[in-house]
Symmetry: D2
């Protein structure tokens, strides 16, 4: 991935946020504050997903479509399935 | 929270999944596999959110409504805001 | 419902927007414009859902919780299921 | 669009469902039933969005990428923006 380092930094920050959520729950933080923080982590995770998707479309999928043939067909179908899965989980 | 231990176990598992995602990206795993795993983590996070919301509604909100008065009003408004935030991030 | 007239007006506008989407597709509008308009209608529908949820929580659920007893339990469980369904479809 | 007739039929059905929602609200149907039906309409709308996206990717975007040049770049960027908007509204 082209933006691999940025994605790795984001994932490291999300890992820390999830650990922080555990501390909030262990320390009996107010539920609404836990929910607000959960929503922030969920959003951060979606942004990583969107960056991976962008990178994948701009490289693997475009390269396959430019080369043409059955692999292009396959890569586009696979991309659309990934978009569907990505969108459904929200 | 009543189900605190279960929530803490889920959060610990999610933390491990996020770390695993970092390893996948570092090892140049196929983007579509990264997206599939991201969707799984996102779903697991949503389930934690829903459990916190359930616990909060069954305890803090119900207790406040049973006691009545201005605090009941406030707790219900706060709950609805949390639901809105929770639903929007997906 | 307390805000029934406002909800009915919103639904009438959404019905018109869906009809407009049909015209766009029939007239071979550019796909990206169709997607943008679909996203707007989907958002408008979510807002109606959120208003119905707010009204329901502020009336049926609060009344049941104030009266107490097994019906309160049932109404809160039903509310949480509705929130789950509402959040999942996005 | 290749599957234009199927999309038009789906939109006509959704228009009828939105009209039905108006009748439910006017007839004071139980809020939870209104929410359940709203979730069904929202899901149906998402399916239309996904079909439009699929059609667009398989035709406009693939054609542009096969031809190459700056238009390919533009079509892929536009597709990713549409996916982002589509995913955010859920």
């Amino acid at each position: 991935m082209e933006n691999r380092d940025a994605i790795l930094r984001r994932l490291a920050r999300i890992e820390g946020q999830v650990r922080g959520l555990g501390r909030m729950v262990a320390d009996e933080a107010y539920c609404v504050d836990v929910l607000t923080q959960l929503a922030a982590v969920s959003k951060a995770l979606d942004r990583v997903g969107f960056e991976v998707l962008t990178d994948h479309t701009n490289h693997c999928v475009r390269d396959a479509v430019e080369r043409g043939g059955p692999e292009a067909q396959e890569r586009v179908a696979e991309l659309l399935e990934a978009v569907e899965r990505f969108a459904r989980t929200r």
